[in-house]
Symmetry: none
Subunit: 149 residues, 2 copies
DNA sequence: CCTGATTGCGCAATTG
DNA sequence: GCAATTGCGCAATCAG
């Protein structure tokens, strides 16, 4: 809950360049290895004519580098925020759905009860008919039963 | 989409390349850096309890340090895995709930229809009664109407 | 006090 | 080329 870590170094103008090596893949990371100033001498020995930009680790003092890093850091923060929010939304959605589920179940319960009552009425009626009328022809023995599920 | 990276060594018998040497003492860390007064310069020979381990940058070369780091890294990985899994579960839960919701809605639809049919039957019956019998005794003119929601 | 679990953060490699 | 993602390590802090 703090933010006092960060090995964010001031883009200081120390005359040392940092070698990156492929330590990254090995597990080691932001542990810059000091290296005597480049062959040129100054911190910035790279002339406009970029040498193989691809193969070199890109010195960390470079403005370019720092800028890219900062941009990426912002992007990362943004992305993570978004991600977190999404997760939260999803969680909320779960609750929402659960609520609605309960609502629906309650409604089902109600409907089922109503249905049951009506059916009972039907039965009652049928009995009345059976009692008051001689068993003649049209005898429906309540066969309007269908169970779902 | 996401994968195919990481040539991380085997978790367990890893081979953390030893790039982290003593050279890392650049000004990159905001940490207080090395102890100003080591036990060497006539300092106290560590009394009962070591000097406050706190506030000290803790030698990065220390075995203790590396060990702690590695343990923490494992813990972190574990924690993140767990977190990710939980998120996934939540997502799954959403789908599950959505499905159930649909199921319930369908059931409601069915029940509602059934109810409607029964009510219609009642009405029909009532009409029959009204037509064949003089409005005398028990004559309910359909008053069992209740709408939910 | 120590240890594992979490969390915020930066780095670098990928991805889109 | 650049922003978004993603895996990872570090350090601070929490929790047991």
């Amino acid at each position: 809950m703090s933010k006092v870590s960060q090995q964010n170094s001031t883009p200081g103008v120390n005359g040392i360049s940092v070698i990156h090596t492929q330590a990254h893949a090995s597990g080691l990371q932001q542990v810059p290895q000091l290296v005597p100033a480049g062959p040129g001498g100054g911190g910035k020995a790279l002339p406009p004519s970029k040498q193989s930009k691809k193969s070199l680790p890109m010195d960390r003092n470079s403005d370019e580098y720092r800028q890219r890093r900062e941009r990426n850091n912002m992007a990362v923060k943004k992305s993570r925020l978004k991600s977190k929010q999404k997760a939260q939304d999803t969680l909320q959605r779960v609750n929402q759905l659960k609520e609605e589920n309960e609502r629906l179940e309650a409604k089902i319960k109600l409907l089922t009860k109503e249905l049951s009552v009506l059916k009972d009425l039907f039965l009652e009626h049928a009995h009345n008919l059976a009692d008051n009328v001689q068993p003649s022809s049209t005898e429906n023995t309540t066969s309007s039963d269908n169970a779902g599920q």
